[in-house]
Amino acid sequence: MTLQNRNGDKEASPITLRLKEPTSIPIEADTVSPDHFIGRSLKDIAALPVYFGRRKRNLGDVFHIEGEESDQVIVEGDLAHVKKIGYGMTRGRIVIRGNVGQHTGACMRGGEIIVEGHVADRAGIHMEGGRLWIKGNAGHLLGAAYPGERRGVNRGVIIVEGNVGSETGAFMRRGLIVVMGDTGEFVGARMIAGSVFVFGHLGKRAGAGMKRGSIVAFGACEPLLPTYRFESVFQPVFIRVFVNRLRQWGLPVNIERTEGLFRRYSGDITALGKGEILIYDSNE
């Protein structure tokens, strides 16, 4: 993925942040976001606050920062303990070159985050717009909700090329999550609406307590909960529409599968019961 905007215009060189030294101390870097960088000189950006463990530091203490004013941001280094990158961002793009810590893209409302490695738990939690593209694996609670909240992701797209942990898309209200690999348990638990596409293996107890929405299993799948009822076998048109767009974005989606038949199960009848799980049947 190159740093070109959609119109192909030439852009200012991005702002690059390189972690000065690897650390196991958690860094809360919610200021690493185009929203905070726009309109600030490098010096001002370096003065933005981050929490290094329990101590308040400046961004410049933790990262080497270079580039010119831009809403394009590149973050490099061993970022496994750097949390909250892109928190609440509304515009621009962040490219993370490597693995990154928890809460990446949490509450984001616009723009794009591309993670070239793996992300830890709670990526894209409470997302309200924009696109979060993860080339590696994601942890638990991807696109889910914080404890106690009744509504999670409300618009936006999350794409994971690898595998994901448990509770992906839990409490989701709107939006799309695409997982190319396998999932943990409780995908779409207590989902209110929205769509989760799983191309790998769909884990146990998918859609537990789901009210509305769609979980689509293109690959193998664990037995569903007994509170899901088989309804029919059909060829859903909307899947083709979605998949066309995914292919346009460059995702290697197996086109044959999307044109095949799907078994539709409705549930969860312990909740509202208007949700569905679609499982790829065959292309007969």
Binding site: Y146, P147, G148, E149
Partner: protein, 543 residues
């Protein structure tokens, strides 16, 4: 020694209404000018500013079992307000149920210096006190729930009124309580059988007593024990359409005996049960006006998140079913019950908008400010941090009209709010936020600035925007120490726990011990809280 110089002083208890005068402080008390050496005293220039006694909140749920159940049930509430540790001050979180230290900071920053925890069952009072000790700066006390207490109901059933009186005195001493709280008398006991009480004559299962008898017995006991605060009553059918009739009937049933009715906004609904509530503020305000021994606090609804928590367990159950929210139910053995349900009040909800309007109508219709006090039944109708906004709505008719335009049309249609032109004066605000509640709580040293009073003082910049003015006082002084300077918290200190200890016939302990042996999970010996267990405290005399 401190002198607060040249401020406009509002001290309604002493009849001072906006006069420019100096206030002198020595040894944590307010003293006359002769007692200080003006050369040595630290001078605070209050010219152009408004000086009032520290705020007094007589009904707020800040501590104990219910507050903790609220915190545990609602981790999302912790994310709504987060304060990092700064210097001497601790970190904290929680918007509708702030953590202990944060509660103290938020009250102090708002100029409040005394807060009454509105309800604790005696069985869990130890926990309530432990948390109160962790709430810094403010003075506090606990009202003890007694309206569904087996021992008391048994005494009433057998006509043993002296025994009931001695037990109440013992219970207040054992729990280090400040006064008698009555919540849905008999209804919480009946809830243990899946039932409730609908009116004053309904029978309490297993005791043969009625809500009316419980109320009048406890009101008389309060008189006999000469407790500083009258029974603090949360009546029947809270939150139900048509409950205004029973509220009026309950007010009348007090027959001239002192009583305080809390959060009456929740008790002033017209219409038929199960249907859309209409405002019955006129009816309830009239009953309050006609019964001069009755005082009320409002429980004003604020739009936004709230956490309902009350000993009225059946109410919490029906609320959770109605709105599909998470719910905690609590059983307190032979004493009480309780429940917690989170709730967000929305402008676009006709019922919530109606509740909002009823609260303001009550404030404006009850003419005597000494008998109506500012509360939001924190955190039931909204957090206490919303008081400044309520003050602005009471003082500023145009702002009120502007807010009224935003509520749900259906609520607008039924409201008389646009016809109420009254605007509270600063003096009246001083009454409903400090002088009135302090007087009603029987706190002789609080809520006023006369010589001998506790030096709990708040100094406000006199701003046009009253919400802004009351949210961020310039100076707050507690026990003679400056805790807020230039709107910033600068000092943390311990507050005192206020409690009563009325005398009783010691022979009663034999009966109470037998009651414990028969029906409690704790032993009689382990039940009472020792005075040294509650930290800095002040025992109020009963006379």
């Amino acid at each position: 020694m401190i002198g607060i110089i040249g401020g406009r002083v509002f001290d309604p208890m002493n009849g001072i209404n906006g006069t420019i005068q100096d206030i002198w402080i020595k040894g944590g008390k307010i003293v006359s000018q002769e007692e200080v050496d003006p050369q040595k005293a630290r001078r605070i220039d209050a010219s152009g500013q408004v000086v009032m006694p520290g705020g007094v909140d007589l009904h707020s749920h800040i501590s104990g079992a219910k507050a903790n159940a609220g915190r545990k049930l609602c981790p999302e509430d912790s994310r709504r307000l987060i304060r990092a540790r700064t210097g001497f001050f601790r970190s904290g979180s929680g918007y509708t149920v702030p953590s202990t230290h944060l509660t103290g900071y938020l009250y102090a920053e708002m100029g409040y210096t005394t807060v009454m925890e509105a309800a604790s069952a005696p069985l869990v009072a130890r926990h309530t006190h432990e948390e109160l000790q962790d709430i810094p700066i403010i003075d506090k006390g606990v009202l003890i729930t007694m309206g569904n207490n087996h021992f008391i109901m048994k005494c009433i059933q057998n006509g043993e009124m002296e025994k009931a009186r001695d037990y109440v005195a013992w219970l207040l001493e054992a729990s280090k309580g400040f006064g008698i709280k009555i919540v849905n008398p008999g209804g919480v006991e009946n809830w243990k059988y899946g039932k409730n009480v609908q009116n004053l004559e309904d029978e309490v299962i297993g005791f043969g007593v009625t809500p009316r008898r419980i109320l009048s017995a406890l009101a008389r006991i309060r008189e006999e024990l000469k407790l500083p605060h009258p029974p603090h009553i949360h009546g029947l059918s809270l939150g139900r359409s048509g409950n205004a009739d029973i509220t009026v009937e309950t007010i009348k049933s007090m027959e001239g005996i002192d009583a305080h009715f809390c959060h009456i906004q929740f008790m002033s609904y017209g219409g038929k049960p199960g249907e859309f509530p209409k405002s019955a503020a006129v009816k309830v305000a009239q009953a309050v006006t006609e019964n001069p021994h009755i005082t009320v606090d409002v429980g004003q609804v604020l739009f936004g998140p709230a956490t309902t928590m009350t000993s009225d367990a059946p109410f919490e159950f029906s609320l959770s079913r109605k709105i599909g929210a998470k719910w905690v139910n609590n059983d307190l053995e032979s004493e009480s019950g309780g429940g917690v349900v989170p709730l967000t009040y929305k402008r676009n909800d006709p019922v919530h908008s109606t509740m909002w309007s009823i609260g303001l109508e009550l404030f404006l219709l009850i003419e005597d400010p000494w008998r109506v006090y500012l509360t939001t039944d924190h955190p039931n109708a909204g957090p206490f941090s919303g008081y400044p906004e309520v003050i602005r709505m009471l003082m500023d008719r145009d702002f009120r009209a502007q807010e009224f335009e935003k509520i749900h049309k259906k609520a607008m249609k039924n409201s008389i709010l646009p016809e109420l032109n009254r605007e509270y004066t600063l003096n009246e605000i001083a009454i409903i936020t400090r002088a009135g509640p302090a007087k009603r709580l029987g706190l002789k040293n609080k809520g006023h600035l006369g010589v001998g009073a506790d030096a709990d003082i708040t100094v406000y910049a006199n701003l046009e925007n009253k919400a802004e003015m009351f949210a961020h006082p310039a100076w707050v002084i507690k026990d003679g120490e400056v805790v807020v300077r230039d709107g910033k918290l600068i000092r943390e200190q311990l507050g005192r726990t206020l409690y009563v200890s009325p005398s009783y016939e010691k022979a009663i302990e034999k009966d109470i011990r037998a009651h414990f042996d028969n029906s409690y999970t704790v032993s009689f010996e382990n039940y009472p809280i020792a005075p040294e267990h509650i930290g800095p405290s002040e025992k109020l005399t009963c006379d």
